[in-house]
Each structure stands twice: as C-alpha cells, then as structure tokens.
Amino acid sequence: MIINAAFRNVEQVSGAIALLRQYGTNANQMEIFSSKPVELKPGVLDRTSKMSLIAVLAAIFVGSLVTTFIYYTQRDYPLVTGGMPLTSGWATGVVTFELTMAGAILGTVFMFIWESGLMKKSRCPAPDLPESGMILQIECDADVDTVVNMLQGCGAMDVDTLEKS
C-alpha cells in the first residue's frame, strides 16, 4: 500500500517521520513531496550522497585523461622549438584545468540526475504537488491502519491510501 499524507508545516511532518521511524519504518520507504524545498533538521530524514566524491573523481579522471592525451599527441611531433617545449605543465596547465572542471561539472550533473531519480521510473506514483505544505508518502505493506492513525495523530490534514500498481 502507498499512503499519502498531507501536512501543513515542517514540525508536523518531522514529528510524523520520527514516530514512524521508531515504529520501524525504513527511511527509504518515506518520501516528502513539496513544491519548494523542505528544510528538515539533520537526522530526521537524511539522504546520503556521493555527489562530491563522484565530482572529484570525474574531475581527476577527465583531467588526467586530457593531460595524457596532450602529452601523447604532441610527443609525436619531431619539431625543433626555439625555447618552449611542445608539452610543459605551464602551457598545457590551462587546458588541463578547464577540462578538469568540465569533468567535475558533468560528474555533478550526472550524479544529480542519478541521485534524484530523474529520468527513471519510480516504484510509487508521485502525488500531485500541493502549492503549499507537503505530502509525506509512505510505502508500507502491513499495519496500514496503525500508520494512518499515527499520521493523523501527528497532524496530517488529509490521508489517502492507494494500492501499489
């Protein structure tokens, strides 16, 4: 079953989440939907993220790839240069920097799409976004009535239950 409970403010929804987690509901089974970001206190419903790590790794990967590319493409030119060598940290540093940053940016955006679940089919149908307030969606298979009661006790204005498709 999927339960959608509408709440008016952050305090109520935080209370409901705390209660449900005590009751044993997993954080992955809960999701808040809102038309603007909901600022929860740390610890209420944390979402782990590897975005910074992947951004750094993508930066290092693309940056070193590009530097290697520059080195190997320029190495094959048997050119005589007066002073400046064909590859040097100074001259290729700019290209290395720019593409390192490009790697970081693309890594971040990739992780944004990945972690937000955009462009992916979600398990539960998303409720229509309220213009104000928020909807707490809980995926639960047993004790639906208990959960609904708990939600109503925490100040949910409107609780819908629907079958998982």
């Binding site: 030119y77 050119l79 005589v80 240069t81 007066g82 002073g83 001259a91």
Partner: protein
C-alpha cells in the same frame, strides 16, 4: 652574443655531425643604398600580389621584404640609413607557439616555415611578431592581365585568408640541395641565394650555412659590426645586420 647563438644551436639537436645546414643571412647596412632591387626581386620570385593605391592606403600592401628608413639630423643636413627587413627566421620565434594549428613552426634547418594549407587565419602570429613582417591575404590574390602568366611555378599562390611571410626562398634552398645531391657534391657556400641576395647590386647581403665556419655568412655574422634586430626580446633572429659602431 651572436657567436654564442651559433654555438648553442650547434651543440643541441642541430649538430655538425648530422650535417644539417642552419640557414642564416647577414646584411651589411653600410653597403645598402636603399635601391629596393631586393624588394622587386622578392615580389617576382615569390608570387606576391601587387597592390594598388587603395590597398596601400588601407595598410594592406604585402612586401615580404621592406626597406626601413632611418633619418639622422635636420633637413637639409640629413643622413638616411636603410635597413632591409624581412622575416628574421627567429630561433625562438614568438609567432610559433601561438598558432593553434601548427601552421607555423621551426624546421630542422632553422627556417621558420609557414604552411599555407594549415592556416585558418587567426592572425595571432602576426600580432606577436615584433618585426611586423608577417602578411595576411585579405582577399584572394589577383594579378593584372599578362602578369598572371609570369608566376613562379615553384612557389604556391596563397589563397585569401592565410598568413604568409619571407621563406628565405625555401624553393631555392630545396633546388640547391637537389642539384647538389644529383651531382654528388656538397652544397658550396654561395650556391644557394635567395632572390634578394642574388639581386643586390651592392652585394650587401649574404646567405648561407651558419654551421659552416668558413661561409661568408658565418664570418659576417661574427664580425664586430654584427647585431640582431630587437635582440633584447630574446627571439634569436637568424638575420644579422652589420653596421659600423658609431
């Protein structure tokens, strides 16, 4: 200074053992009369388009070789000095590293070569040339009727949108090397002469191999009167100007 230059060059990849000539030029300014025969010869040899008054007034004339005039004293008691200026074939040429497509680079004989086909026309090299001896083809070149029949077949005609400059008459260098190897001889000093050197009535210009200690250009370039143009920029030019030190 100039001695050091040759020494350094021969110590590095361009050594005597590999027998690769290092081309250079020396010009005795005390002999130059400013007659501009070299300019005409250069135009004829290298298929340089002619320019009319409009082009001249727009600053679009192309002369790979020009005569700079320096005036001393007050009119009428005036002294004029001439200095033929062409591409200085710098060893550490500022035009080379800035080209994004390697249209200009240093070859192993020390020539600063320009590959017309590679040029996309960013004109960065020309901005970075302190001697202002790089020329751009603002349009496709045209010659007056009949003159289009006298083009030198050894020299490519450059299309609009590409950079060009003095090559030290690279076509003559190639021909000289070809002929010498066909005869089984070494290239003797003076065998190869760019058009300007050949046409100078005052014999103010010499051209040759700087690694050959007995060549005229080596001896001239190492004379006490020798200097390089704007050598404070560290471009290591291959053209030496001889002038009495006064």
């Amino acid at each position: 200074m100039s001695m050091d230059l040759v020494q350094i060059e021969t110590d590095s990849s361009r050594s005597d053992e590999t027998n690769i000539p290092q081309w250079g030029m020396a010009i005795d300014l005390d002999r130059c009369s400013g007659c501009e025969a070299c300019v005409i010869a250069c135009h004829a040899e290298n298929n340089i388009p002619l320019s009319d008054e409009t082009a001249a007034s727009e600053g679009r004339t192309n002369h790979w070789l020009r005569i700079d005039r320096y005036y001393e004293g007050e009119f009428p008691d005036i002294k004029v000095k001439f200095r033929p200026v062409m591409c200085q074939q710098c060893d550490d040429a500022p035009c080379e590293p800035v080209c994004p497509v390697y249209a200009t680079y240093q070859n192993e004989e020390g020539l600063n070569v320009q590959v017309y086909n590679r040029c996309v026309g960013t004109r960065y090299c020309a901005n970075n040339c302190p001697y202002t001896v790089r020329f751009f083809n603002w349009y496709d070149p045209v010659w007056p009727e009949d003159l289009n029949l006298q083009l030198n077949p050894d020299v490519s005609v450059r299309p609009g949108g590409v950079m060009e400059k003095c090559t030290f008459c690279v076509q003559r260098i190639q021909r000289g090397k070809r002929e010498a190897s066909a005869d089984g001889n070494d290239i003797a000093d003076g065998d190869i002469q760019p058009a300007c050197v050949q046409s100078c009535p005052a014999e103010a210009m010499v051209f040759g191999d700087l690694t050959d200690k007995n060549s005229k250009v080596s001896q001239w370039s190492q004379s006490g009167r020798s200097e390089q143009l704007l050598d404070e920029l560290g471009t290591k030019p291959r053209v030496f100007y001889l002038e009495k030190g006064d």
